[in-house]
């Protein structure tokens, strides 16, 4: 089963996604947290720390995978597993802006989606957290607009792949696809 959780910044999507994982988790499974965020400064470190605290005591095994998300499977044990992937906006940015020049939008979409397809195939339950980055009404430079566009395309494809899509609004889950 695949569940897509989407929400804005500070919407409570992470804690909701963790609740979902804990509710679908079964005793014979391993529980993985795939982290995509790269830490560059104190603010990033604090953010990771906050998320770590949220997860602590819930039995997650953490895998750091800022790019090439399909390869995170190589770091997991065989057998039944529930995987929480957080989050698509960081993964997409890491894929796009890794090199000296940004990668093409379609290339980024392809690599994120094929990685996610692999993950889906090799996990019992997959919960994916993504962001709503679409509604601030600002026209950014070309590179950022390409990023936003790639995110939109990726979100649409993930929603099509998912069995369930939930938007989290001020901490409240609103089911969009069931």
């Amino acid at each position: 089963m695949m569940i897509l959780v989407i929400g804005g910044s500070g919407s409570g999507k992470s804690s909701y996604a963790e609740e979902v994982v804990c509710s679908i988790f079964e005793e014979d499974m391993k529980k993985y947290y795939v982290a995509t965020m790269q830490i560059f400064d104190e603010e990033g470190r604090k953010k990771v720390e906050r998320h770590r605290k949220l997860r602590s005591g819930k039995g997650f095994l953490t895998i750091e995978q800022p790019r090439s998300i399909g390869r995170s499977i190589e770091k997991m044990d065989a057998g039944r597993k529930t995987v929480l992937l957080e989050c698509i906006s960081n993964l997409t940015a890491n894929e796009m802006f890794a090199g000296e020049t940004p990668k093409l939008e379609m290339q980024v979409v392809q690599s994120v989606i094929s990685g996610l397809e692999q993950l889906r195939k090799n996990t019992t339950n997959l919960v994916v957290v993504s962001n709503n980055v679409f509604e601030d009404g600002i026209i950014y430079d070309r590179t950022i607009m390409d990023y936003i566009h790639a995110m939109g395309e990726i979100n649409q494809r993930l929603a099509a792949m998912a069995d369930q899509v939930v938007e989290v609004v001020v901490g409240i889950p609103v089911v969009m696809k069931q």
Binding site: G7, G8, S9, G10, S11, G12, E43, N132, V133, F134, E135, D136, G137, I138, Y140, I144, I148, V169, V170, G171, I172, V174
Partner: protein, 127 residues
Amino acid sequence: MKLVIGGYAQGKLAYVLEKYRLQEDVVWDGILPDQTVPGQKTIVIDHLHQWVKNRILDGGYPEREIEAFLNDFEDCILISNEIGNGIVPLDAFEREYRERMGRILIWLAKRAEEVERVICGIGQKIK
């Protein structure tokens, strides 16, 4: 307390005034009153996000202040923009504001007896 959220220019205030048959004189724009006008039972706080932003700018503690306010004025309708649905701002203050605003709205939504999201002037009850 009721919480009404939504994007910019979605007709939130008009929706609230019509739904609850209220007049403009019960509306406080971007401020939390110390006391209400005699005879006003329900009050409406519009642009709550603007109040939060101003309090952070002034070095205040909006999380604590709004809790104190609600203890005095439980019968109110809070209207706020949703500001988290965008690209992470480059400016550190804007990032802090966005994050704290999000957490405040989650806290308010938990406390609220009802939460509605307004899109295109239409209210969607989510709690």
